[in-house]
Structure formats: structure tokens, C-alpha cells
């Protein structure tokens, strides 16, 4: 089922032209430079990109947990009809952990080593749902069962270091979904896990989503394995979403040269290729982005228009995809592809 990506009527989260800049001594770093996407209830959106492409800062902007020096300077983040860029700090506090859950890459760092698992998974229930600790701990046992932790009544008394890596990540996920959030943001949750544990965790997330109906934003650098479990993908490059659309289209008929090159550069199990496609050069430094399209120095098909001025606008294709590439200008079907000028 493919819906038009810019249909925002039923969107749970609607990010429009988000710009988050870092103001540093050496200048302005445009970490997120006009990012738009929507997440509908119950669906999974994958934010795919390399390190420094702006995907994590996009998530931290949604949660308003930006590091010092970073500011949202433009755009809107509408979540359940409310603009999070304008929400008060106390409103955001009730939002985080209750309506929006978060799972981080390193569960050991996300869990506090001096508190038991029961305390940490139960805390959001006590804070947000005003449960007593006694009832909260009963709920914690149910939650740990949901994330497939064996003998949860014993595990609630354990400290994080007593759990294995996979179990820690599952416990952190239990804490994130405790208040039944409508949206779960998972930032590279499997990168620190072993290959087999990683797959178990991905299957668990899919199962939890089916059980709770929550939407998931999945941040990943692994387009082939993890990308496959998302409904839609937003491919990040140099602080921009360069391609955005349904998973099937993005993975099988990529419309942006970067997506295409990336897919062909990753070895896949069971295929015979003597050489991988290689992308020349290196990913850009967000503090020193080239003019024009951020990918043009590495692109085999770059035109004159790609090299200067503003990055290309998002052209809308007939299948609902949006692609920031001048090569797709002739295929553009939409009315207006979103302003590229900062406000």
C-alpha cells in the first residue's frame, strides 16, 4: 500500500522543512538543512544515512534534546496536532517517555548502572502514569515478558551489568514502551549487538509494533538489512533527505544517484559480483558542505546546475516519492516541492 507521502491529514508526526543548525566558533554547521517527512500511526519509517548525515540530530530535534549550541532555526514538527518546536519545556517533559519513547544505540549507556532493571523500567510508569511502585513493578514484569526476557520476576532485581547485551537492549526497550507511546524513536538500536542478537531484536520490534500499534522511526546506516523492515525510507545525505518514499520503490528502483550507488556498493548475501560499485571521495563534513547538491562531488551524473547555489528542491515523482536531484526535474508531478530557502 503506497500513499502519497505528503498527505499529512492522518500523519501522527509531520516534520516540515526542519532546519537545525549548530552555532560554533568556526561557523554555522547546518546539521539538518530542510528535512521533511511524515509518520503515520503504526508504520515504520527508516532514516537511513551515514554518520554525520543529520539523522540523529533530526531525532533529537523531535524530542527537543539538542546538545548545546544547536538550535531549531526553521520548520515545524507537528506531533498529534501540536507543534513541538513551539511547545513549552514542561509540555515536552510530559511528552518524552509518555507519547514518544526512545531507544539508543548503546543500552549500557542508556541504563543507569546503580539502579535495578525494575526501578528503571518502572520509573516512567510512576512519573507519567502516577502508579504506585507496587503496581508499577507488576507492570514491569509484564513488560519484560513482552520483550521476551526469561524469568522477569527475578530480572527486576538485577543491575544492568548482570544482563547480556541483547537482554539489556530489550530491557531498555521495555522502559521505552512502558507508557504505550504512539511513537518510538530507535536510534541504531542494533549496531552494538551481535549479528544473531541483532536479528532477534529486529524481529522483537516488529512483534511489539504489531501488539501495540505504535509507529517507529528507525535510524540506521544499514540500508539493505534494516531498511527492509521499514514501510518507508528517508535517505539522508549532508543534512538533507535526498530520497523519500515507499521501501519497495527506494530499494528496488532508487531515484537518487546516492541511493543507487549506496545499494550497489554493499555486498549482499548470495549474489555473485566480482567488484562492488564504489562511490569516490568521502562523505561531506557538515561544516564545509559544497555549494549546490551536497552529493555532487561524488556523483557520476552531476550537471552544471548541481554544482552551485542552493541544494536541489524535492521533486515529486508519480509514485509519490520525493527526490532531491535535478535529474528528476522532468518527472516532477507535484505543484510545489517545498521551499529551499531558509526562513
Amino acid at each position: 500500500m503506497v500513499q502519497m507521502p505528503n498527505d499529512s491529514r492522518q500523519a501522527l508526526l509531520d516534520v516540515r522543512d526542519l532546519r537545525t543548525y549548530f552555532y560554533m566558533r568556526r561557523g554555522v554547521v547546518k546539521a539538518v538543512n530542510g528535512v521533511s517527512f511524515q509518520v503515520r500511526p503504526g508504520e515504520t519509517l527508516g532514516l537511513v544515512g551515514e554518520s554525520g548525515s543529520g539523522k540523529t540530530i533530526t531525532c533529537l530535534s523531535i524530542l527537543r534534546l539538542l546538545p548545546r549550541g544547536a538550535r531549531i532555526v526553521g520548520g515545524h514538527i507537528r506531533f498529534q496536532g501540536q507543534d513541538l518546536t513551539l511547545a513549552s519545556d514542561s509540555a515536552m517533559e510530559t511528552m518524552r517517555g509518555k507519547q514518544i519513547g526512545m531507544v539508543l544505540q548503546n543500552a549500557m549507556a542508556a541504563l543507569d548502572p546503580v539502579f535495578t532493571i525494575g526501578t528503571q523500567v518502572g520509573e516512567p510508569l510512576v512519573v507519567h502514569e502516577k502508579l504506585t511502585w507496587k503496581t508499577a513493578l507488576r507492570r514491569v514484569v509484564d513488560l519484560l515478558t513482552m520483550v521476551k526476557i526469561v524469568s522477569p520476576e527475578l530480572r527486576i532485581h538485577n543491575y544492568p551489568h548482570e544482563l547480556s547485551g541483547g537482554m539489556r537492549q530489550r530491557a531498555a526497550s521495555a522502559a521505552a514502551i512502558g507508557c504505550r507511546p504512539a511513537l518510538l524513536i530507535a536510534d541504531e538500536p542494533t549496531t552494538a549487538l551481535d549479528v544473531t542478537t541483532q536479528r532477534q531484536y529486529l524481529d522483537l520490534l516488529t512483534e511489539l509494533q504489531r501488539a501495540t500499534g505504535m509507529a517507529i522511526i528507525f535510524v540506521t546506516h544499514d540500508i539493505s538489512l534494516v531498511g527492509n523492515m521499514c514501510d518507508r525510507l528517508a535517505v539522508f545525505y549532508g543534512g538533507l533527505v535526498v530520497e523519500y518514499g515507499a521501501k519497495e520503490q527506494v530499494l528496488t528502483h532508487p531515484s537518487h544517484p546516492y541511493t543507487e550507488a549506496l545499494l550497489q556498493s554493499v555486498p549482499k548475501l548470495g549474489e555473485t559480483r566480482d567488484r562492488l560499485r564504489s562511490i569516490r571521495g568521502d562523505p561531506p563534513d557538515l561544516g564545509r558542505l559544497p555549494g549546490g547538491c551536497p552529493f555532487h562531488p561524488r556523483c557520476d551524473m552531476a550537471l552544471e546546475v548541481c554544482r552551485t547555489g542552493e541544494p536541489p528542491p524535492a521533486f515529486e515523482l508519480a509514485d509519490g516519492r520525493r527526490t532531491r536531484c535535478w535529474l528528476r526535474e522532468p518527472d516532477h508531478v507535484g505543484a510545489i516541492a517545498g521551499s529551499t530557502r531558509p526562513r
Binding site: E50, S51, K148, I149, V150, S151, S164, G165, G166, M167, R170, D194, V195, T196, T197, Q198, R199, Q200, L202, D203, L204, T206, E207, H221, D222, I223, S224, L225, G227, N228, M229, A261, L262, S265, V266, P267, K268, L269, G270, T272, R273, D274, R275, L276, R277, S278, I279, R280, D282, P283, R298
Partner: protein
């Protein structure tokens, strides 16, 4: 098969585990590498695949001569390296080079790139006059621009740093390079540059690689042979393509299933159960039995040995050769079975 370039026979490394501060008592051993045998042919790539903690990096360190083995033998061109004289061992070190996972940590930030690459030449007695041309030659062969030798590591990107690491490994014209996770710390779009470079260099120079990795797809692409390692032991050895397409050991099947994108069928659909135990508490018998849906009573008691089940394939599993014909290789339970120990 001709004589292998490098051969490893029953190699073992056991680390003693002690308890107590003043009077330390031996409480056991961590068997990081526990009786491993394989051979690397000239000009070919042999890959060791396994998850973290399976002992693959210890194996690399043993082969590089950085750790003394507890048992077993390493042979280069049929000669036992334990019986080499000091001078001959220097020659062994010249023949076997290494590229490490983290290019940031592997290069001294205070040294110029030219000095980093020249250091092994200096240690192995190259005359000063011969060093500079060789440094420029290897830097060019890994695709670094002229003049790189005068710059410092921090002036290079991650992918270029890994190229410097490869240039240093090539400097002494080794016959074998141990590649320990050579691309896993690099950005996705640069990995293929390095993998292609390694393949080109192999074709050009005829060197062998011992590739150590956890990524089955990369390993399948790069290697001629694969050895699958679990808890210090090889559980399956065979031709790379055949091992990935038709895994025979249940653990290999698990790895293949985990690396197959969701929605696509793995050749042998395996439920992934539990996690890798630590080497401190390895199960009795076959190390994989607590996670194996096909485990039989014998698997708990007897450690299976690596035996040839067909041409070019060795498997350490009690299912072979008899029991395998009695079971259908289909999922026994749902793919997401309960985890935990």
C-alpha cells in the same frame, strides 16, 4: 591440493583465570582458541567468521606472532614457526603483515605518513636510500595522492587512513596479510572502495588474505574459503559460496538467516535462539547445543570434531553424516523464539 602457504594445526590459546589479589589461585581457563586447524593457499582469501568473543582476534594475534600459543602449530611453507631461529622469525614477520580494524588507533598521530610506512622497512634493515622510493610506490599503489608521505594522519579521512594502514602492511612485500575487520569502522559508502582495493591488490601481487569479520555478506564477497568460528572452535569450513548458500552446521545456518534481509528466504530457515555465551561459561559438549533446535542428548556430552562431510567441506556437528537425512530442514518454531540464557 598443493601445500598451503600458511597452515594452522590444532592451534590453541588458553588464558588462565585467577582469583585473589595477594595469593592468586587458578580457577580455570578461558579457551579463546581451542584446537583450530586450517590452511591458506597462496593467492587466496580465507575468512574467519564469528560473533564477538568467539576468539577470532586471538587467532589473528597468534598467527601474527603477537601471542605465544598454548598448544598446536603454525607452519609457513611447511616449516614450523616454533622451530625458527630469531633471524628466521624476523623473516616470518616480514611475510605476514596486518591491517587492523580501527585506522584511527593504528596510526601514530605524531608521525608523518611517510615515516609510518617506512618504519617496518627500517626495522627490517632496508637502507635509507631504498626506503623513500618504496614508500612512495606503496602509497601510490593504494591510491593515495603524491605528497601524502609528508602529511600527518589527522589530515586524512577514515577511508584514506585505512589506505595508509594497507600501504604499511604492503611495504615489506608480505605473502599473507591478516585483515582484522578492515572495513567495519568505516562509513558505508567508503567500504566498497577499500574492499575493491584489497581485491585489486590481491590480483596484482598474488598475496593471500586471512580475513577476520563478523559480516557474512562481506566475507562471501571477498573470500575463497570460510571458516565459521564459535566459542574458540571452527564449526564449519568450506568454499565461501557453498557455505553461504548451503550451510551445513546449524550455527552457520543461524548466521545466514540473520544476514538475510527480512522478507527473503534463507536457504535453511533457522530460529535464532539465545545469545552467544561468554567464554567464561562455555557449555559442555558442543558449544552450540543450548541454542540449537536439533540438539540431541549426545550433543550435551560429546564435543563433535571437525570431519569432512563432502569434498571441500568440514563440519563439526553430530547431525553428520547420519542423522541429517532424517530431519527436514524447516523451521521448528516461530523465527522469534524466546531469548535469554
Amino acid at each position: 591440493m598443493s601445500e598451503p602457504l600458511l597452515e594452522v594445526r590444532d592451534l590453541a590459546k588458553h588464558f588462565p583465570l585467577t582469583r585473589g589479589l595477594l595469593k592468586s589461585t587458578l580457577v580455570g581457563h578461558v579457551k579463546a582458541v581451542d584446537g583450530i586447524s586450517f590452511g591458506v593457499q597462496a593467492g587466496e582469501t580465507f575468512a574467519i567468521v564469528g560473533e564477538s568473543g568467539c576468539g577470532k582476534t586471538t587467532l589473528a594475534n597468534l598467527i601474527l606472532g603477537l601471542l605465544p600459543p598454548t598448544g598446536g602449530e603454525i607452519l609457513l611453507h611447511g616449516r614450523l614457526i616454533s622451530q625458527l631461529s630469531a633471524a628466521e622469525f624476523m623473516a616470518y614477520r616480514r611475510s605476514v603483515a596486518a591491517v587492523f580494524q580501527d585506522p584511527y588507533g593504528a596510526l601514530n598521530p605524531r608521525m608523518r605518513v611517510g615515516d609510518i610506512v617506512a618504519e617496518p622497512l627500517e626495522i627490517h634493515g632496508y637502507a635509507r636510500a631504498r626506503r623513500q622510493p618504496r614508500v612512495r610506490e606503496v602509497l601510490r599503489s593504494v591510491g593515495l595522492p603524491d605528497g601524502s608521505e609528508r602529511r600527518f594522519p589527522h589530515e586524512f579521512s577514515g577511508g584514506q587512513k585505512q589506505r595508509i594502514g594497507i600501504a604499511r602492511a604492503l611495504a615489506l612485500e608480505p605473502q599473507l596479510i591478516v585483515l582484522d575487520e578492515p572495513v567495519s569502522s568505516l562509513d558505508v559508502s567508503i567500504r566498497s572502495q577499500i574492499l575493491n582495493l584489497l581485491k585489486d591488490l590481491q590480483q596484482e601481487l598474488g598475496i593471500s588474505y586471512l580475513l577476520i569479520s563478523h559480516d557474512l555478506a562481506t566475507v562471501e564477497h571477498m573470500s575463497d574459503w570460510i571458516g565459521v568460528m564459535y566459542l574458540g572452535k571452527l564449526v564449519e569450513v568450506g568454499r565461501a559460496k557453498e557455505v553461504c548458500r548451503q550451510p551445513k552446521h546449524p550455527y552457520t545456518a543461524t548466521l545466514v538467516a540473520a544476514a538475510t534481509p527480512p522478507g527473503q528466504m534463507a536457504p535453511w530457515e533457522m530460529p535464532i535462539v539465545g545469545e552467544v555465551p561468554t567464554l567464561l561459561e562455555t557449555p559442555s559438549g558442543c558449544g552450540f547445543h543450548p541454542r540449537c533446535p536439533y540438539a540431541m542428548p549426545v550433543c550435551k556430552r560429546v564435543t563433535p570434531s571437525l570431519v569432512a562431510v563432502e569434498d571441500h567441506r568440514r563440519v563439526a556437528c553430530h547431525l553428520y553424516p547420519d542423522v541429517i537425512h532424517q530431519i527436514r530442514l524447516t523451521p521448528l518454531t516461530s523465527p522469534s523464539s524466546p531469548g535469554g540464557r
